[in-house]
Assembly symmetry: C2
Homo-oligomer: 250 residues x 2
């Protein structure tokens, strides 16, 4: 198995490449439009065939590379099944295992950051690998104040789907803004300032309600753009055009 | 493969259990005397046979459980080969792979915290697992002001043996004092305040020389005790007797 943790600097997004070395099959979790060329080069360098792109959710902070990667490689686009859009090939659902070669990826329905968010769990021979998307971040979590976000739902998702896993389970988040790459269930249970140390549901809800976060700078074009699998809408402000490197091909 | 990350609270030491599920063979890296009963119970619960205890170095902050575990299970004691003591069964050397069932453990000679320190590297099908002992800690490193410690040697060890590994390589440290459990080579390269961001050797040496750390509270009995594989010397102060739960059986 090949595992690569890739980073896009403008939105601080982690993209994950997972591939079966025996079969050459690969997927990308949460690819970003800006870094599609990097991802294509990596697939080429490693002699891998991209089966699909998997989205944890409809992102509000960057455009997905799903559409362009499909154009360039013929891969499938996979989104949580609750998201309805004509560009989507595969609906992700908890209970439906997604196979990449002989690797099994288990989707976990984890609403709260958005109402359709899914995380992905892989059982390795050593520890479990949990791709938490924007539900749980290292010492943080996704915000719950737009896109049908809900703090109580997020608390339940994190406790029921993540914190019930063995302490050694590795946490690979969808973003990090401070150079952190990996955590574990035990570490987040101990240290996460919003959830750790046994914080109650009400404490978590109060923390989330008091965050007073700025309006997301890309949301107005990112959400409609991602509902079109990473198409660049016309309303991208001039100063954010860097998020749309493939606009002319759109 | 079974992998468990275990914690001893008084010295904030991580002990690692690694076992081959096919053969039932197990090792413990850096077991602690206080938590021997926990480790024995875990081995029993998981139906594992303890082949050996592996020390990354002669610890100055806790007593190893090696001697008692050998008494209770018949396992071998393994220390870096530079350490000479009659209680030691196996000398650990870089280049000599240590096998646990079918799992290969690669010792890496990493002097600097002590002159004989070794880390352990396991190649998993996904990422490499690096047990850094006290050479590299999460956002910190072992001190270099006693037991033939040397800041320049530690800098070289970390750069040549650890930072040359793939960014995804997981770092499992010998201690953590703030509830952190796991990091990666990429994360420490980015964030470690003593080494990260491309700090020079001289910058690192200056940082280590300016730490002004207190005298280690257990060193006077821990070092001679660990040279006897975790025997309790007579000079254990009354307030630290908790570090010697097996004194009467010594």
């Amino acid at each position: 198995m090949i595992f690569k943790q890739l980073f896009e600097t403008d939105s601080s997004t982690y993209t994950y490449l997972i591939a079966d070395t025996d079969t050459g099959d690969a997927i990308l979790i949460d690819p970003v439009l800006e870094t599609v060329e990097r991802d294509l080069q990596l697939l080429k360098d490693l002699n891998l065939s991209l089966n699909a792109t998997l989205e944890t959710h409809v992102h509000a902070d960057h455009l997905t590379g799903a559409r362009i990667l499909k154009q360039k490689t013929g891969c499938k686009t996979a989104y949580p099944a609750m998201v309805q859009a004509s560009c989507i090939d595969i609906g992700i659902r908890e209970g439906s295992i997604f196979k990449v070669g002989n690797i099994c990826i288990n989707p976990l329905f984890t609403p709260g950051h958005t109402d359709h968010h899914h995380a992905f769990l892989i059982d390795s021979p050593i520890q479990k690998l949990l791709f938490t998307g924007d539900a749980l971040l290292i010492e943080a979590c996704g915000r719950t104040d737009f896109q049908s976000g809900n703090a109580e739902a997020l608390y339940n998702s994190i406790h029921n789907k993540f914190f019930s896993l063995p302490g050694e389970t590795l946490i690979y988040p969808g973003h990090d803004y401070e150079g952190r790459h990996v955590s574990s269930v035990a570490q987040e249970k101990a240290r996460n300032p919003r959830l750790g140390g046994g914080k109650s549901k009400q404490q978590f809800i109060d923390i989330m309600n008091s965050l007073d976060l700025p309006y997301p700078r890309k949301i107005d074009f990112a959400v409609p753009g991602n509902l079109a699998c990473g198409s660049c809408p016309d309303n991208v402000p001039e100063e954010l055009k860097g998020s749309c490197p493939f606009h002319d091909q759109g």
